[in-house]
Point group: C2
Chain length 128, copies 2
DNA sequence: TTTATTAATGCAACTTAGTTGCAATTAATT
DNA sequence: AATTAATTGCAACTAAGTTGCATTAATAAA
């Protein structure tokens, strides 16, 4: 039933996102891809990958969008793990192990969530 | 020590945000204000109000920015409550009572956080 | 292998969000 | 009333994302 085609742009973009240690922005991808494809294509490939649930979208405290690979999303696609954005090195990483706990009144229906924490990452904080 | 001036634009914008039941976007504010002031002024007033910690900034799952009044931020300005965005009526509300619990490895330094959940609000879900 | 189908792409033009420099205005202080 | 510096408006700009349409190319069918 999958009518999604395996194009060079799609393959490259998915590889970049999967192999990156951190979440990538559209601008990051465009810089890496050079003129392999048009910037509009990047937007459209990202939309497709989101729809296919191969990647997910992260908005940080300022609304900046980045994309990261999904790990275990075939069954449920609720990304209730925390994303951390470092204010020093700008990196956005998924803290897959940290699942925040919370309870909404039962009248609410949850479809998706976006938990982003900003501050200093271990590399930049100098803490141990 | 406050060198912030009490202008009409500032007063109006703060009132609008405080009296709104939900978080407002720049576009919302511009629509309400009409030609009371320039749209650039709205951006600058919002920046000032953020710096003065009278309002806070919310980014939803898609990176859309809205602003809401702060309630108890004079002491600490960590907004670790959940924001809920309704996909049906587009409203963004603060769920002040719901504080998510989570623990980061101690090497991380947290400065700010953005927790946004999307789905259906009580009005739109029809649940009780 | 060739043909047919339609998803995917490139391009240009567009919208929306936000920023910047600068001259003019005005709130608050003296 | 005069002074000072914060604030504003304006115009021009950058960045992010979208849309329509003609062209290209991945996949399936013949």
């Amino acid at each position: 039933m999958s009518n999604s085609r395996n194009t060079i742009a799609r393959t490259e973009i998915l590889n970049l996102i999967r192999e990156a240690g951190e979440a990538l922005s559209h601008a990051d991808l465009q810089a890496s891809l050079g003129d392999l494809c048009n910037r509009v294509t990047i937007y459209r490939v990202l939309d497709r990958l989101l729809e296919e649930r191969l990647i997910h979208k992260i908005a940080d405290v300022d609304g900046n969008i980045t994309y990261a690979a999904c790990h275990d999303c075939s069954s449920r696609h609720l990304h209730n793990h925390i994303h951390f954005r470092c204010e020093a090195c700008q990196s956005v990483t998924c803290l897959n192990r940290v699942e925040p706990e919370f309870k909404l009144p039962r009248q609410y229906v949850v479809h998706s969530m976006n938990f982003t924490v900003s501050g200093l990452c271990p590399k930049c904080s100098g803490k141990r």
